[in-house]
């Protein structure tokens, strides 16, 4: 079974945040739960958001690829800094061939105030997860409402059929802590996108 927990992102996950206001944002790549920030590295990376953006819903995507450096026990982002415009969005994800790279989270601030935190996703934040192993994945949103992802094995599918199915990423809306649709069927290699339509401090985690 895959590991799935929006508070602890892995190489199978992506975390996206939309920038609605211009300004200078700094983010850290953390490993521990909220409250332990002082014991972690204070290395910060910058996102400069200009005011000349497009209208909401028509922003551009900026990918930040995190490379695991075992010697430094740190993820190193590429690029180190991002220049974006209002309504643009940044997607963080890991690229590693080290299976043991530890789970991480992203926490961003502006003017000493927390603006976004993957450990508790805010409105219009997005979590993606590519399922690599088949199984019946029951998860909870905010440790309450339950959803399920039924992941069938790709092994019996012709490659073309598999590729066709994997070319679609089903979208799950989360509003008021409720996932919609509640149940989704996919095949291994397919990505699910959870979109926080309404809500704050949203988490998605498997039921153990």
């Amino acid at each position: 079974m895959d590991f799935l927990n929006s508070q602890q992102l892995t190489y199978q996950d992506g975390y996206l945040h939309v920038f609605r206001s211009p300004g200078i944002y700094e983010y850290r790549i953390l490993f521990l739960p909220p409250g332990y920030e002082n014991s972690e590295s204070d290395t910060r990376y910058t996102i400069n958001v200009g005011k000349d953006g497009s209208e909401a819903g028509k922003g551009s995507q900026h990918d930040v690829v995190l490379h695991w450096n075992a010697d430094q026990h740190a993820y190193l982002p590429d690029p180190e800094s991002v220049t974006a415009q209002v309504h643009d969005y940044v997607l963080w994800h890991v690229e590693t061939d080290t299976p043991a790279a530890p789970p991480y989270s992203i926490r961003g601030e502006s003017d000493a105030r927390t603006v976004f935190d993957s450990r508790g996703m805010g409105q219009h934040d997005v979590l993606t997860h590519m399922f690599l192993l088949p199984g019946e994945y029951h998860y909870r949103v905010n440790n309450k409402a339950e959803g399920v992802v039924l992941v069938a094995s790709h092994k019996n599918l012709p490659y073309e059929v598999h590729a066709e199915r994997a070319s679609k990423a089903p979208l799950v809306h989360i509003a008021g802590g409720i996932p919609n649709p509640e149940s989704i069927e996919i095949v291994t290699g397919q990505t699910i996108v959870w979109f926080v339509e309404k809500g704050e401090h949203v988490t998605v985690s498997l039921i153990k």
Binding site: Q61, E95, P99, L132, H154, K155, E197
Partner: protein, 275 residues
């Protein structure tokens, strides 16, 4: 006074079979060839064979069609990540329109290759050899021994016919592992060939090393050591001539002062001189 004991070829065969029953050995080693670490454990046992006694002046014990059989437990360990390139899936971009955000393209996932895999393969082998042994007599403390000492002989173990079985096993295992990874279906045959291609560059060297190791292990058997005499017959130097008749009448012993051994009329003849 002296005594003569003769052992026929049939009797010598029985003695030899008893000797062979105790001749087995097991040794292991390992080495690396590029990304492949290979461990091998060799077990060898001897059986069969027939004795021919060649008369003096040659005095040779000739062993025909001795079967040397055993198996090599070979363990191929390798890290796919050292052979295969980085592959990220899906090999195409997947995008989704999200309200209030826009078109979001999901990230690729780069496959972390599994930890090093170990593939066990059993390679049986069997060869028949013939060897000549010289006869010698040794004073072994309280005994006399009639020993065999092998003459150098040719022994060739060839594992190269096993290459196909090894390739098949590795191909099947790697194919099974890669089949579990989604969205590389069109690449699997190519990737398996990359592993087999890497193996093909070193497989003959691996098999040659293991063959040499088997050869060396076989020569560690006492019977095939050109420096270790192997006792075929043993006589106690002190022999009871008359049993004890009671406390005042103790056993009467005689002592073998010297022993000779030769082959006459296809019989192994031991001559004892008593003191």
């Amino acid at each position: 006074m002296d005594a003569t004991i003769a052992v026929s070829e049939g009797g010598a065969n029985q003695l030899m079979q008893k000797l062979l029953a105790g001749e087995s050995i097991s040794k292991s080693d390992s080495a690396s060839w590029g990304p492949f670490t290979v461990g091998y454990n060799v077990n060898v046992a001897l059986s069969g064979g027939t004795i021919e006694l060649v008369d003096a002046p040659l005095n040779i014990v000739r062993l025909h069609n001795l079967n040397i059989a055993g198996n090599v437990g070979v363990f191929f360990t390798f890290d796919l990540g050292q052979i295969l390139p980085k592959i990220c899936i899906p090999p195409f971009q997947v995008c989704v329109d999200i309200p209030f955000i826009g078109t979001v393209c999901t990230p690729q996932v780069c496959i972390p290759w599994p930890p090093p895999i170990t593939i066990p393969i059993n390679l049986p082998f069997s060869v028949n050899v013939s060897a000549d042994f010289g006869l010698s007599v040794k004073d072994a403390g309280s005994n006399w021994e009639v020993d065999l000492l092998v003459f150098p002989f040719s022994l060739f173990i060839d594992l190269s016919p096993m290459a196909g079985a090894i390739i098949n096993q590795i191909e099947t295992t790697v194919d099974g592992i890669l089949n579990g990874i989604p969205l590389i279906g069109g690449l699997i045959a190519w990737l398996v060939n990359m592993v087999l291609g890497a193996l093909s560059g070193v497989l003959s060297a691996i098999l040659s090393t293991i063959s040499s190791f088997i050869h060396d292990v076989i020569l560690l058997l006492d019977l095939f050591s050109p420096t270790i005499p192997v006792p075929l017959l043993t006589f106690a130097k002190t022999q009871a001539m008359l049993p004890a008749g009671g406390p005042p009448d103790p056993e009467v012993d005689i002592t073998i002062a010297a022993l000779g051994a030769t082959i006459n009329d296809h019989e192994l003849v031991a001559t004892a001189d008593f003191a």
